[in-house]
């Protein structure tokens, strides 16, 4: 049964860039920063592509932001192999409820069988959108999708999807990463899944893929055209750098180290 899968592609600061809080403490300094796709979203796209490679279907990728997010929609998202893109053109503040509302409206129109989102974005680490979206749509949700085998396994090398579609095409089996182990759940479709780091190893955007991406369909919508009010419910009050690490000390011998670990650090 062909699957229609909706995935997200958030533009985030490249972890290679040095992040500085602005002097007013209201946000980070954007000048000179490099950007890329949220790595968890890249994993979501990879999983969607593996599923549609196996079962047929279509992968639609969504990003919300100013015109710069088109860059990430084209490459890697479309260049990796997603079929088409939807760009929600929005400049200005937004929070997770607004983002989930946009995705909800798009889902109501597109009617995908499955949404795959990153479990969080590496910039603000909110980790809320997937759950909000499932809740808003009334769909089942499978957060922190992972896999049983390792990223070096044969299944991974053969690019087999870790999210498994049932024989009747009515549900998916998802292995979730939970505290200290794995949990396997079955989720009725339509469903929302969010990705863990160990779900798969995303393919590179190939050169032919990059060339092809520029001719793939990209639809522009706005929150207003979707009927979504983006007024945030959350505002950032203050941002600070983490405190600088204190210099280490040298201990004389192993007993002294054990003593420190036990009584000062309380690590053992």
């Amino acid at each position: 049964m062909p699957l229609k899968i909706l995935v997200t592609a958030k533009r985030v600061e490249d972890s290679e860039s040095k992040i500085k809080v602005n002097p007013a403490g209201t946000g980070i300094v954007l000048e000179g920063l490099k950007f890329k796709i949220n790595p968890f979203d890249e994993i979501a796209i990879e999983e969607a592509l593996r599923l549609t490679a196996k079962h047929g279907g279509e992968v639609v990728v969504v990003s919300i932001g100013g015109k710069e997010v088109v860059e990430q929609l084209r490459s890697p998202a479309l260049a990796m192999g997603a079929n088409r893109a939807i760009w929600v053109n929005h400049v200005g503040p937004m929070d997770q409820l607004g983002i989930a509302a946009c995705l909800q409206k798009i889902c109501e129109k597109e009617k995908p069988d499955l949404c795959i989102l990153g479990k969080q974005a590496i910039d603000d680490d909110q980790g809320q959108v997937g759950s909000y979206l499932a809740e808003a749509l009334g769909w089942s949700q499978a957060t922190f999708a992972s896999k049983e085998e390792s990223l070096e396994s044969e299944a991974e090398k053969s690019k087999a999807p870790a999210i498994k579609l049932s024989a009747d095409g009515k549900s998916v089996t998802v292995v979730r990463e939970v505290d200290g182990g794995l949990q396997t759940i079955e989720a009725t479709l339509p469903a929302v899944a969010t990705t863990e780091l160990r779900l798969n190893q995303p393919r590179y955007a190939s050169l032919p893929g990059i060339m092809k991406a520029k001719t793939k369909p990209l639809e522009e919508v706005t929150p207003a055209s979707l009927g979504v009010d983006m007024t945030p419910h959350i505002t950032v009050v203050k941002m600070t750098h983490p405190p600088a690490r204190k210099a280490g000390i040298k201990v004389a011998d192993v007993p002294a180290l054990m003593d420190k670990l036990k009584n000062e650090a309380r690590a053992i």
């Binding site: 890329k36 490459s75 890697p76 590179y204 190939s206 050169l207 990059i210 060339m211 520029k214």
Partner: protein, 383 residues
């Protein structure tokens, strides 16, 4: 973004992200081990070929993408940021000197036998001009290839040949007419396993440790005449033609390495403390970094200029020689200064800057020395 002054467009930059991701996943984590082992696994050629890295300027008929020089320029800049000049060189030679002559001058048969599998990563190539008795004087090379019926019979030796130890084929420059100087040189493909062709030594190097560098010997080595690349006795001009792009890639590689060197210097001086402040707060250090950044930018702009001329089909002999010399010497100098800024840490094997310092030293030697670049530039000046 579209100021009109950009050398690379959005697709080039997207490809840059792909190469960056490739380097971060497939190379950087293994650099220390491969440098120590003085070699990297053959599978890396497969991985690179899967991404089309060896066919960026070659025809689709042979598995290339015909994407062009700017894409390959991006590849060379980013590969050399992996931190191992040797890995970048091993992969780089496969994309340039070991395949360029086949693409430019080879028959369809040669392209099918060697170019296509090289693009696919299925066979590794090398290009051998330099000899134990001399490298700069290409016209004076001593290896001979005498014609006997439908064969050439090669005698002589080659040295400092990148990928030479594990190459499946070597494009050898030899004299088909020893009575002539540069008018007697030809390029001939010799396959691994051909009787009379042996790898006499794997060479130990100051830098580029992860790359394989060989001394090769040819003794009564018979190869079919079909293995001739281009026209007989026209090899000198062809080799010089092939060198143009190689020199540009060496300049581009130097820029990539220098970017990494500069980043390492910045990272160190902004955290290292002396006399109660960060080392970067001393004015001397600030000015040193300002000068390093200026020299890097100057070399970048000259190299990009030569690249644009080359991509536009101009025979930019002078600019290419200038760019190769300026960029590789700049990289050497930056590596030395960055090492100095690291203090004692710079001299320790556990810091990465020492490897750049060793690797960068090859730049003004390989692919034609700085002195030979000056010869070319002087000739362009009519001297």
């Amino acid at each position: 973004m579209n100021s009109g002054f950009q050398t690379f467009d959005g697709e080039h930059e997207a490809f840059r992200q792909t190469v960056k991701a490739f380097v971060a996943r497939e190379i950087t984590p293994h650099v220390k081990a491969w440098e120590q082992a003085e070699g990297f696994p053959r599978e890396l050629y497969d991985r690179a070929a899967e991404q089309g890295f060896f066919g960026l300027k070659y025809d689709e008929a042979y598995g290339g993408t015909n994407a062009g020089f700017f894409f390959e320029a991006v590849l060379f800049e980013e590969l050399s940021k992996c931190g191992s000049g040797g890995v970048a060189a091993g992969l780089g030679a496969q994309a340039t000197i070991a395949t360029g002559p086949l693409h430019l001058f080879g028959t369809d048969e040669l392209k099918r036998r060697f170019l296509a599998p090289a693009i696919a990563g299925k066979c590794i190539g090398a290009f051998a001009v330099t000899e134990p008795d001399g490298g700069s004087d290409v016209a004076g090379l001593k290896t001979t290839a005498r014609r006997e019926g439908e064969h050439y019979v090669l005698d002589g030796s080659k040295t400092y040949i990148t990928n030479g130890v594990r190459a499946d084929y070597v494009i050898v420059a030899a004299k088909t007419d020893p009575s002539k100087g540069h008018k007697g040189v030809s390029m001939i493909v010799v396959e691994k396993g051909t009787p009379g062709f042996t790898v006499s030594r794997a060479l130990k190097k100051v830098g580029w440790r992860a790359s394989d560098t060989a001394e090769l010997s040819f003794s009564e080595c018979r190869v079919p005449v079909a293995n001739l690349v281009g026209r007989e006795n026209d090899g000198f001009a062809q080799i010089m033609g092939n060198f143009q792009w190689e020199r540009l890639t060496l300049a581009l590689g130097a820029l990539g390495a220098a970017d990494d060197i500069f980043a390492q210097a910045m990272a160190f001086v902004t955290t290292r403390r002396a006399f109660g402040q960060n080392v970067s707060q001393f004015q001397v250090v600030k000015h040193r970094l300002a000068e390093m950044a200026t020299e890097l930018e100057a070399a970048r702009q000259l190299t990009y200029h030569a690249l644009r001329l080359h991509a536009a089909g101009e025979w930019a002999l002078g600019q290419t020689a200038m760019a190769k010399k300026l960029a590789t010497e700049m990289c050497c100098k930056l590596a030395d200064q960055a090492l100095q800024l690291h203090g004692g840490a710079g001299y320790m094997m556990e810091f990465d800057i020492q490897r750049h310092w060793r690797d960068a030293r090859l730049g003004p030697i390989g692919g034609g020395t700085s002195e030979i670049m000056n010869e070319i530039i002087a000739k362009q000046l009519g001297l």
